[in-house]
């Protein structure tokens, strides 16, 4: 059974925070949770096709880390990226419409769940080949260094990517060339159905940083404020010194790898244990502790509900995708 570090059975001391800081983060996490649940429902009704990878249980990772970025900073994510796209500032409507394969989708129905891209918010995808996007993210950071534009790139990948060449090469080159990048291993304990202990000789992915003399960090991802504080350090390092970091955030997905995965490789007890540490419940309790009013909390939750219902309605009513992009080579300009 894969459980959190035994040293941390009792939750650590909660990070100090305020309603002003935590409420917007809680709102984002809740919106992502509701959006993912709505997507799951639409998928079960046959309105969304293909692969659908949900982030339910891991919301604190993308929300807490992206909260440290400026709008001009780049985010590169995997195919489990609806939450990252939302946290980067993309509205629920175009995300949901993209899942539905509609013309109003974020990428006009040409990408789908796994390929969300948005130039306006500097969200660089949505990549479907495990680990293949790590060098690509290093390339965005390379461009920042080349231009001296002061931007930081954050790249997310799963524990399953820790074994593939793309990760190894991206890491090596980012370290060699001192690229302004934060590589975040979103360790949700399983590469599809294979637990960590069966895929890695050393389960601590962050240790890979040592071979390259790179800064590293590792912590649990159930407290959105903790994620924000610790990632802020790495982002600051990238922005001021141009040095990369490798950060591993231990988390858990409550659902299967994708909609077609019943998750039979995990015990009920294990899932229950992690659900007890649901980052959303934790943030909600903490909000009450730091003094949010019941009325404000109710209003926030009602607002989220309305937003996601509107996004679903928008997706449902939007016209179907109508054109793909022809292959164009313009040749000499």
């Amino acid at each position: 059974m894969t459980l959190p570090d035994s040293a941390r059975v009792e939750p650590e001391q909660a990070e100090p925070t305020t309603v002003d800081e935590l409420a917007p983060l809680y709102r984002q996490m809740l919106a992502i949770r509701r959006m993912e649940e709505a997507a799951a429902k639409a998928y079960s009704q046959g309105k969304i096709g293909g692969f659908l990878h949900l982030i339910i249980g891991q919301e604190a990772v993308c929300v807490g880390s992206i909260a440290t970025l400026k709008p001009e900073d780049y985010v590169v994510a995997t195919y489990r990226e609806h939450g990252h796209a939302y946290a980067k500032g993309i509205a629920a409507r175009p995300i949901m419409a993209e899942l539905y394969g509609k013309k109003t989708g974020l990428v006009k129905g040409l990408g789908g769940s796994m390929h969300l891209f948005d130039k306006a918010t500097n969200f660089l995808g949505g990549h479907g080949i495990v680990g293949g996007h790590v060098p690509l993210a290093a390339g965005a950071a390379f461009a920042s260094k080349y231009r001296g534009d002061g931007r930081v790139t954050v790249c997310y990948f799963g524990d399953g990517a820790a074994t593939i060449g793309g990760f190894a090469e991206g890491l090596a080159l980012a370290a060699l060339w001192k690229l302004p990048i934060v590589l975040i291993c979103e360790n949700n304990q399983y590469s599809m159905g294979t637990p960590l202990y069966r895929s890695l000789a050393v389960e601590d992915v962050s240790l890979r940083a040592l071979a390259h003399g790179m800064a590293r960090d590792r912590f649990d991802g159930d407290d959105v404020i903790r994620v924000k504080r610790r990632i802020a350090e790495a982002v600051e390092r990238a922005r001021t010194t141009g040095e990369p970091s490798l950060v591993e955030i231990v988390t858990y997905r409550f659902r299967g790898h994708s909609m077609s995965d019943p998750g039979l490789y995990r015990t009920k007890d294990e899932v229950e244990e992690w659900r007890r540490r649901d980052p959303l419940n934790r943030a909600r309790e903490r909000l009450i502790e730091v003094g949010i009013t019941a009325a404000a909390l109710d209003a926030l939750e009602a607002d989220v509900k309305a937003e996601i219902e509107d996004a679903v309605r928008f997706a449902e009513e939007s016209p179907a995708a109508d054109a793909y992009l022809p292959y164009v080579t313009k040749g000499a300009q």
């Binding site: 780049y74 590169v76 989708g105 974020l106 990428v107 006009k108 040409l110 990408g111 390929h115 891209f117 948005d118 130039k119 660089l124 995808g125 949505g126 990549h127 479907g128 080949i129 293949g132 996007h133 790590v134 060098p135 690509l136 993210a137 290093a138 390339g139 965005a140 950071a141 390379f142 461009a143 920042s144 080349y146 231009r147 060449g165 793309g166 190894a168 090469e169 991206g170 090596a172 080159l173 060699l176 793909y324 992009l325 292959y327 164009v328 080579t329 313009k330 040749g331 000499a332 300009q333």
Partner: protein, 327 residues
């Protein structure tokens, strides 16, 4: 007009484009301090510094991916593979990242990148360093595939490739670097999808690209002694392909031989043969012939290497078959 080598023509193209546009940079193994494994990037480091001439460690997937990421946010990388044989460890980045990004992002992100390096069989370097992979890349929508056969074409096509806003697979003939040809002083570009008649003739059309153009020109000389007048058509880019120039030629001559250095099965010549029969059926006097390498990995021994690769004699034999001369 200056006569320069194919290698120097490529060097000039990069140098001029790097002068012209600060976003253009070169990246690859041994491109800087070593001056290029094949000396194509000679002198660029001295001129443009380490910032724009980037020596990489041996990590094709890593630096090809970095090129794609940098291109995604507006730089214009030239990624050199020491040979195209090594592109196979980076093919995921070329096919799954570079070629697909424009479509996958709903047209938001184009990838103005050039992947370049020597391709095709060299001499006695064995199976893993002697192969022609243009048919693989020409299969992929989102890529352009260019294969210059002369110094003039090399310069004009590479400048076009660097200015193109989409990914280009630029395959240089490994055995052509030392060949020389006339290259004008004034700037010029060769558009993609525009083939070239390398030799005009009336009796038969030979279609070839890269080194096989030269093999066909040699075969044409041999055949001319028998009074057979060959036309040699070089499409120069396989994707986009100049179908009209081939079709017009075959409609004129009534016969066609396609010569490529790749393997026969699913080689690009098969696509050209399809286009020819599709558009020239009533003009054909004989089946379209293909000349390819034998269907085996390249052997090391010189005599076997020559046996496997299409030679002048093979092209001559195919022409004679298409003209029913040995019937």
């Amino acid at each position: 007009m200056a006569v320069i080598s194919y290698r120097e023509a490529l060097n000039q193209a990069m140098r001029e484009e790097m002068e012209r546009d600060q976003d253009v940079f070169v990246m690859g193994e041994e491109v800087g301090h070593y001056n290029g494994a094949y000396k194509v990037t000679q002198g660029l480091l001295q001129r443009f510094s380490e910032r724009r001439v980037v020596d990489t460690p041996i990590a094709e997937m890593g630096f090809a991916g970095i090129g794609v990421g940098a291109a995604m946010v507006g730089l214009r990388p030239i990624v050199e593979f020491m040979t195209w044989n090594f592109s196979l460890v980076a093919i995921d980045q070329i096919v799954n990242s570079a070629a697909k990004m424009f479509q996958m992002s709903g047209g938001q992100f184009n990838i103005p990148i050039v992947f370049r390096g020597p391709s095709g069989p060299a001499v006695q370097v064995g199976s893993q360093h002697s192969q022609a992979l243009e048919s693989w890349y020409a299969h992929v929508p989102g890529l352009a595939v260019a294969l210059p056969s002369t110094a003039y074409d090399a310069k004009g096509l590479l400048k076009t490739a660097i200015r193109d806003d989409n990914p280009v697979v630029f395959m240089e003939g490994e055995t052509l670097y030392g060949t020389t040809g006339e290259v004008p002083e004034a700037e010029y570009l060769i558009p993609f999808g525009q083939g070239d008649i390398k030799r005009a003739g009336a009796d038969i059309t030979l279609v070839a690209w890269s080194r096989m153009v030269h093999v066909c020109l040699d075969a044409a000389k041999v055949l001319a002694d028998d009074g057979i007048d060959c036309e040699v058509v070089d499409p120069r880019t396989l994707r986009p392909l100049d179908v009209p120039i081939i079709v017009d030629s075959v409609r004129k001559t009534g016969r066609c031989v396609i010569a490529e250095v790749g393997w026969p099965s699913a080689g690009f010549g098969a696509e050209i043969a399809y286009q020819v029969q599709r558009h020239c059926l009533d003009a054909l006097d004989a089946p379209v012939e293909r000349v390819c390498s034998d269907d085996v990995p390249m052997p090391y021994a010189k005599n076997l290497e020559d046996e496997v690769q299409p030679q002048v004699a093979d092209v001559v034999a195919a022409v004679r078959r298409a003209l029913y001369l040995d019937a």
